[in-house]
Symmetry: C3
Subunit: 344 residues, 3 copies
């Protein structure tokens, strides 16, 4: 049914579906409905925080990246490019570039110009990085988003025409521990932190958005939803145990990268099993420490870690080629959900 549906609606709905899937692919879900719920979460978070520019930035970045992907592969590799576009693989870095630039920078005409350029650039940065990583059969994941956004946010510091809104102040990392952790450890506040860990994947600070993201995941892939929930809870527990900085923990900033690692290792790149579950837990712990480390490393230049901890940890847990799958020569350069999506 899936196949025939694709053929019949090529004319009108296919491009919209490709766009929505671009939102879904941020968490590895090639499903338009999942993407729609993700976008709903982004809009809710933007509306409730009074910064609608973030939501429009997400849409603009998604559209600009998807359009760029279509333009760049007009001549060659038409089929492969077409397929990537259908699956939303052009757009997922672009939507994140849009979210991030509008979160950290003020909304001026020049900022929007930078956003369109950055979202477009994320497409060819991805093509290039994927080519570099192909010999080891790994994928660039969301690193094109991270690199492009780091580059443009850093440039914004040196350029008066692109003023910063909420970019962290550059400082030597010694000051990070001055504020003692003061997370409310009752059940309800903890549940809010837990859902915010999910929502921060799209840079949202809203438990409602986190809930919408969780539902969106469950619509397409139950294992992904499960692992996102486990990863956010585990990283929250680690942050409390190891005494991470209080306001970061409360805003879910220790959660979003482990959530992505959990989904990637637990439900996408390895088949769910007891052994791959243990390996995924180790990956989540590793991502937690990488998040803390990158907070320190990036403090002197005042940049957020974005999803770099997820990318670094996932690569390090894919590269050893452990025999967790039936096929020891598994190719991790493209993702295919271990369980087929429930909804297209």
């Amino acid at each position: 049914m899936e196949k025939s549906e694709k053929r019949t609606e090529c004319g009108a709905l296919a491009p919209v579906r490709g766009l929505l899937r671009g939102a879904g692919q941020v968490m590895f879900q090639p499903s338009g409905w999942t993407g729609l719920l993700f976008l709903a979460g982004i809009f809710w978070s933007a509306w409730s925080s009074g910064r609608m520019a973030v939501a429009w930035g997400a849409v603009a970045g998604l559209a600009a990246a998807t359009l760029t992907g279509r333009c760049l592969c007009l001549n060659r590799e038409e089929r492969k490019g077409e397929k990537e576009g259908m699956e939303g693989l052009w757009g997922f870095n672009g939507i994140l570039v849009g979210c991030a630039l509008m979160t950290f920078l003020k909304s001026t005409p020049l900022t929007w110009a930078v956003l369109f350029f950055g979202a477009a650039a994320s497409v060819w940065v991805r093509t290039g990085l994927n080519r570099v990583m192909a010999p080891w059969r790994i994928n660039s994941l969301t690193m094109p988003f991270v690199l492009t956004t780091w580059l443009l946010l850093s440039a914004a510091r040196a350029l008066n025409g692109v003023p910063a809104a909420e970019l962290p102040q550059p400082e030597l990392p010694a000051a990070l521990l001055s504020s003692s952790p003061s997370v409310d450890t009752d059940f309800l506040p903890l549940a809010v932190c837990w859902l915010k860990g999910l929502s921060q994947v799209f840079l949202c600070n809203s438990w409602v958005a986190g809930l919408l993201f969780l539902i969106g995941l469950a619509l397409c892939n139950g294992w992904s939803a499960l692992w996102s929930a486990v990863a956010s809870a585990l990283s929250l527990a680690l942050a409390l145990l190891f005494g991470g900085e209080g306001s970061s923990v409360a805003a879910g900033l220790y959660g979003f990268s482990p959530v992505l690692t959990g989904i990637a290792l637990g439900s996408i790149f390895y088949r769910p099993s007891w052994r791959s579950a243990l390996w995924t837990v180790a990956g989540i712990v590793f991502t937690f420490f990488t998040q803390a480390a990158l907070n320190v490393w990036l403090a002197p230049v005042g940049l957020p870690a974005l999803t770099a901890p997820f990318c670094i940890a996932t690569w390090l847990f894919l590269l050893p080629m452990l025999p967790l799958d039936k096929d020891p020569e598994t190719d991790h350069s493209a993702w295919s959900a271990a369980h087929k999506p429930h909804l297209g």
Copy 2:
């Protein structure tokens, strides 16, 4: 005629030509006359700024690197090495190491020892990096110069025997925007900035040197001259539009990396065409933002960006292997001017 000429003057003039071509290859021109004009620009700039050590440093670096290349490939790959030496590919990193070390450090005997070691090291760093990049068919460009110079300038900060002259003070990047841009936007001052953008390729702050470099380019490759002019103008316009820091813009510090990207993408690695021209313009814009970003990233350690923005941007615009050439499997690991040089 070119061929027979090479054969007959092997004895006396070939080594001199190899050296001069080393200067020319900094901007991808395998021409001794171009190299001679580049050296003239360097000497003019050094003389007019009262720091002749920079010019002698350039000559020393060029000679040391070329000699090292000759020594290292005595036994094996004699022919390939000989050819690289003839084309000046051993020397172009060395001349830049010489310029940079004498620009940023005080001229003491220990500094000269460091310069000779650094220029020699740039040769084997290049051999190693080229080997690493070979699977993706890209070239290390001037990255061996950048890495070697960053390493030695950083070391100079920790070693009292190699005192700094004009090395930027380490500082947190917040202070960068304190000085408002105050570039004189009349025609003549702008033309001076534009030519200085070219001259800074060799770390010269002199419009006369920029003019000599432009003439040198035009002697060998018209497209290279055109793209260098376009790139310097475009990056100057972007710096004014986006409000880059005034004194940097006036000194041409936003121009030199885009100039190299423009030459590389527009006239060397892709055949000139409307489509490759659009791609080159995107590459120049990307290089501009990378320059601004690296200024921020390197502020805490007080290092100059050198030509790293050019290398990063050019790699990212070569790696996606866009079908801009007739041959989709183009090998970008070595450069060959799309148009043959006018003068040998």
Copy 3:
């Protein structure tokens, strides 16, 4: 005799020998006796400085890493893994992780948990990095230790539960030169500095430990002992000539990376000869400058350089594939002592 011995003692002594060889492999020596002397040096240094936790951390890291290696390769590549375990190649990163974490962090239960996790992680980081570097036939050397330790020490800054003990304070690198060098240049104090350069390979600040390490090297490979002595002396001379910071020079902190480079290039990866000796000396000089440079680069985040200068320099001196060996296509991905070990 060696072979039959291996077979007969598989039951009881083989695991102990594998552990001890893990200590020996830090300096490329696959010998249990060498490892025993290295451990003796570590214990002496820990006891004399009143910080026994460092020695127990070394043992714990060694054991945790070796055990992790055994668990991870149970199913596949059993033989290759078994062989690596016998040769101590699982443990050498782990013992360094243990030394470093207990040197720089306070000994709390959470720190020990981090140590076990880090030592285990060094095993799969090594497997992954080796796979990445395989196409260029180089080895990850001690970089898995460096990366894992940098990551965990950085994370410790952001986490109140893992307090720092002797971690350097983050500062802008300008302050590094404030203290003038004041190394006592009489013979005996210099000899102490020279031996401390050796001892700092295991982060020990003790000339007795350095002497034990030198004897341990001589037991297994005379060339390695010779080059370690030459490298420590040469880097000490360079540090005095170039005016490195006095207390660092006195503690041997300019010596340990050159010592490893000297052993690696002079006695392991190239056959000893006059030409490879010259190349090794160049490598030692390069390592010295890299050490000074990394001190500056890491100052803003307050991290020690560890053995990163050794890894970077050794890669750069292996990658050009100079014809220093008989076989030009030498594979440097695994090390084999040019001279067979004297003791098993």
